[in-house]
């Protein structure tokens, strides 16, 4: 069966050039970079070269880069590190309603430890308002964390403007750039951020490695791991050397190929969106019409449910994802779609297509051959239609999303 991978926001394949440079550090160059002997020194040198590559990719200095186990750890480290060192100055943290769980749940955890949290709303496109941020800041605000681009709908936030508001007030600003890195330019000075998260496996690097940028002079304290003195006392634990070498190479390639790949993916994405909208009725594109990642197309299909679409696509060899409740392990559909004002019933019918460098126009053509009959089949099976669109009055206590239910 033909297999098409359309889930690059979940993870990407490791590029052959990346795998090749990693290989040597799994076998021949196996030393511990902390060791003083030859074996250690060789690896230390390569590790620092990788740090230089990561730093160069985002316009930072090498000493401002801390290697981590990935985006989640970087987000946790950024938020905890700033919150803990500043807790005597204030206890207020601001974030947005569309953040990744690595940020939302970290901030909520701090909320149970005496911090107060403001979660900024977004508009129908998923954008945070600069005015809302300015109004939310108090004299107790010690951290603002707003993502660069959203993983579910692809909306790109106006980080330069948001961070400028924070800078004016002297408040550290963190952005999760896991999805934007490698797709659009990411430069810490241009964005004006103090902390920034990146992850290896979203940019054709390995899983289990990432980095946190911490601008020199930012008040931050290691507060998650206790152990050795690695990463200048900022992240204890022997470095994931092959992963870090791979991350360095992946960053280098991402920047080198960004312009060409971005243009290519934009063309594919626009073709996909146009054909879906032209050939399938009752579909909405979610996310911002122009401020969106070049590889990202997300939709809500009326009257049908996301997991059913995903299973049907998978049976035809197409891998996508959904913000439907049934794929998330919770009974609530995507918090991002709900924050954008999309009703529960429509959010259940979401599909996310995220393109990658190996996708082709033929992949889009195959999707358009497969998807319309799937939608037609599931709609024929659905009790909902335009005349009976979500007309039921009852609601579901078991799901805890409304008032009363059948269960």
């Amino acid at each position: 069966m033909r297999r098409v991978y359309f889930d690059h926001s979940a993870t990407t394949p490791v590029r052959p050039e990346v795998a090749e440079v990693m290989q040597n550090y799994l076998t021949a160059n196996f030393g511990n970079p902390t060791s003083l002997h030859y074996f250690g020194r060789q690896v230390r040198k390569a590790l620092e070269e990788a740090r230089e590559k990561v730093a160069a990719a985002i316009g930072a200095k090498p000493e401002e880069i801390v290697f981590t186990s990935g985006g989640t750890e970087s987000d946790n480290m950024a938020i905890h590190g700033v919150a803990m060192i500043n807790k005597n100055r204030g206890n207020h943290i601001i974030t947005s309603a569309v953040e990744h769980h690595a940020v939302i749940n970290t901030v909520k955890a701090l909320g149970k430890q005496g911090f107060t949290v403001t979660i900024l709303p977004v508009d129908k496109y998923g954008l945070v308002s600069v005015e809302d941020l300015a109004n939310a800041i108090t004299d107790k605000t010690i951290l603002i964390s707003i993502m660069h681009a959203n993983n579910e709908v692809g909306t790109i936030q106006p980080i330069e403007e948001l961070a400028a508001v924070a800078r004016e007030k002297g408040i550290p600003f963190h952005t999760d750039a896991v999805q934007s890195m490698g797709k659009i330019p990411v430069n810490v000075d241009k964005l004006g951020v103090d902390l920034l998260t990146i992850s290896g496996h979203k940019i054709y690097g390995p899983k289990g490695v990432g980095a946190l940028y911490i601008r020199k002079g930012t008040r931050w304290r290691q507060s998650l791991f206790h152990g050795g003195a690695q990463e200048r006392l900022r992240r204890a634990g022997t470095e994931n050397v092959p992963g870090i070498i791979g991350l360095g190479k992946a960053c280098e390639l991402a920047v080198q190929d960004l312009e060409k790949e971005s243009a290519y993916l934009t063309t594919l994405r626009d073709k996909l969106i146009k054909e879906v909208m032209d050939r399938i009725s009752n579909v909405r594109v979610t996310g911002h019409p122009t401020r969106r990642l070049p590889n990202h197309a997300s939709f809500c299909f009326e009257f049908i449910e996301g997991e059913s679409m995903l299973l049907s696509l998978d049976m035809k060899g197409i891998a996508a994802s959904s913000g439907s409740a049934c794929t998330s392990g919770s009974l609530e559909p995507s918090h991002v779609l709900l924050a954008m004002g999309i009703p529960h019933e429509l959010a259940h019918g979401s599909i996310r297509i995220t393109l990658g460098r190996d996708n082709t126009e033929a992949d889009i053509d195959y999707f358009m051959e497969i998807m319309p009959p799937i939608v037609e089949r599931l709609r024929a099976m659905s009790p909902l239609d335009q005349e009976n669109e979500f007309a039921m009055e009852s609601s579901c206590a078991a799901c805890k999303v409304s008032t009363s239910c059948h269960r």
């Binding site: 439907s324 409740a325 659905s382 009790p383 909902l384 979500f390 039921m392 579901c396 799901c399 059948h406």
Partner: protein, 122 residues
């Protein structure tokens, strides 16, 4: 995640559709929580002679709807009332734990359709 039987019923659902002159119609769920199941019955001498369903929901919701229609067809309404959501899930070789809670409503829809039939008889 899903058993082969669940996938079979998802891919080839039995008894999909509506019965225009149904003797009983039952609907459970709501779009807010992501599952709606609607079951139509034809009943002759207290025996379910035909049954159809329409479902808005995930793979498990469609598979359980399909399975309950197979299990109920040919049964008396007393026998059909004894069918439980658990029995439907077991007939599918089991469902993932979270699906037991959110998608296994098929027997409830069947019972609602029987209740509707009985109400019409009064």
């Amino acid at each position: 995640m899903y058993t082969d039987k669940v996938m079979d019923h998802f891919e080839n659902p039995r008894n999909v559709g509506e019965i225009a002159d149904a003797d009983g119609v039952g609907q459970v769920g709501n779009p807010t929580c992501g599952d709606i199941m609607k079951i139509y019955l034809k009943i002759d001498n207290d025996v379910i002679t035909d049954i159809k369903f329409k479902t808005f929901g995930c793979g498990a919701a469609i598979a359980t709807s399909s399975m309950v229609t197979e299990m109920a067809k040919g049964k008396t309404i007393e026998e059909a009332l004894k069918l439980s959501n658990k029995a439907v899930a077991e007939a599918l070789g089991g469902l993932p734990p979270k699906k037991m809670h959110c998608s296994n409503l098929a027997a409830d829809a069947l019972h609602a359709a029987i209740e509707n039939y009985r109400d019409k008889q009064k």
